[in-house]
Symmetry: none
Subunit: 215 residues, 2 copies
DNA sequence: TTGGATGGTGAAAATATTTTCACTAAATCG
DNA sequence: CGATTTAGTGAAAATATTTTCACCATCCAA
């Protein structure tokens, strides 16, 4: 029995949800007001009443922080919506079929980086092993969000992650004359060419996002 | 670094945990008192202070329901916070003192990108407004994790985000001869120089991470 | 046996937070 | 057009909640 939310109401709803996820408790009216740029708590109050009437939250009148989102009631459900992707360990190249085995860790990734509702179960995180794509802004050590797909479904010149030798590399993928070409974007690196079944080369899939921590 | 809990302290701890689990927010002192049969909120207050001193919870002095259990072994302890940072809206340059007002949205960021336990409350997300730092792998549209600090505390040649005119830009920061120099890393852009109080230039702080979604 | 830590009572003070009131302005709808 | 919804401002009132103060009792270790 939910009405549709106005843009403003949605902003309030999303803020409450983000706040709850971060602080494990609901915000006060003042905190909502600050976040949305509303100077009067009454402005916030009315937004909340509208949200309540439309069935998006329940209030506990009189109680401090007496809010309670209905959709995603459980704080653990909230964290579930933010996928945690396995980080490929350095030993993965020994058995590229089992990239998810013994992950080096997990990285929380905002759904913003999973376009078109990409299935999180098909995604992985890998660390770029060289500067071969520095010309396109991918540096050694960057974390790459990789969608795992069969390499035959890739488009030509798609930006991919692959395991070559002991390293996980970002490259442009080209398939011609029954050969996989991995093209760097840095003059000091050379294009590499492999037959499709070369055990020393495993193309994982396209790179969907790049994350870099700066010193 | 935890002391042992007395029976009474443990009862309080367990009640808080159960309450949090059920209501998705911490209880008030009165509610704890009712549950444990303590008539004075001060009795509860002292229990909480003891729990805090022993490292079992954190308090947020002055805030209603300002409690927060710590123990990370406990699935309901809720400590491993995955912060949700506000994304600076495009209209922020009109009032750079209130960057958090009316955020364009929120981005969940893995704690991995907050070095040395950087306080999430001092961090923001901004979108790079040009390609002025493409030479260092930051492109227009990239999401920047910015630590908000007073510009006088910056080191020379530090990579910073700043609001110049209508745009949020990444640049190298240099302060000499009482002038702020913003240096690009792309030959087609020019260094810009501002007096420290120029209203058209607001240096937000150093860039701690870069996130890019690929097409 | 004295002194600190613990665990209280009860009341009052100080804040935090919600709620109400009066008023404005824009957008929407029948 | 006029009525309704939405989204505010600003101030004040009403409560909820935290914090402090004075005081008491018990237990335990030095």
């Amino acid at each position: 029995m939910k009405g549709r939310l106005t843009a403003r109401q949605n902003e309030a709803y999303e803020f409450i949800r983000a706040y709850q996820r971060r602080h494990h408790k609901p915000p006060t009216l003042q905190e909502i007001g600050e976040a949305l740029g509303i100077r009067s708590t009454n402005g916030v109050f009315k937004l909340l009443r509208a949200l309540e009437k439309k069935g998006y939250l329940r209030r506990d009148p009189g109680a401090a922080r007496g809010l309670h989102l209905l959709d995603s009631d459980d704080p653990f459900a909230l964290t579930d919506e933010v996928p945690s992707l396995p980080v490929i360990s350095r030993t993965a190249s020994h058995e590229p079929e089992r990239l998810r085995a013994r992950p080096a860790g997990f990285l929380t990734v905002d759904p913003f980086f999973l376009p078109r509702g990409l299935d999180p179960d098909t995604c992985l995180i890998g660390r770029a092993g060289d500067d071969g794509m520095s010309g396109e802004g991918i540096f050694k050590g960057d974390l790459l969000l990789i969608e795992e797909v069969p390499w035959r479904t890739l488009n030509s010149r798609e930006l991919v992650a692959c395991l070559v030798g002991e390293l996980l590399l970002a490259r442009r993928f080209v398939f011609v004359n029954n050969r996989i070409h991995l093209q760097p974007a840095n003059r000091t690196y050379l294009e590499e060419v492999f037959p499709p079944d070369d055990p020393g080369c495993h193309v994982i899939g396209p790179i969907r996002a790049v994350f870099r921590r700066l010193p």
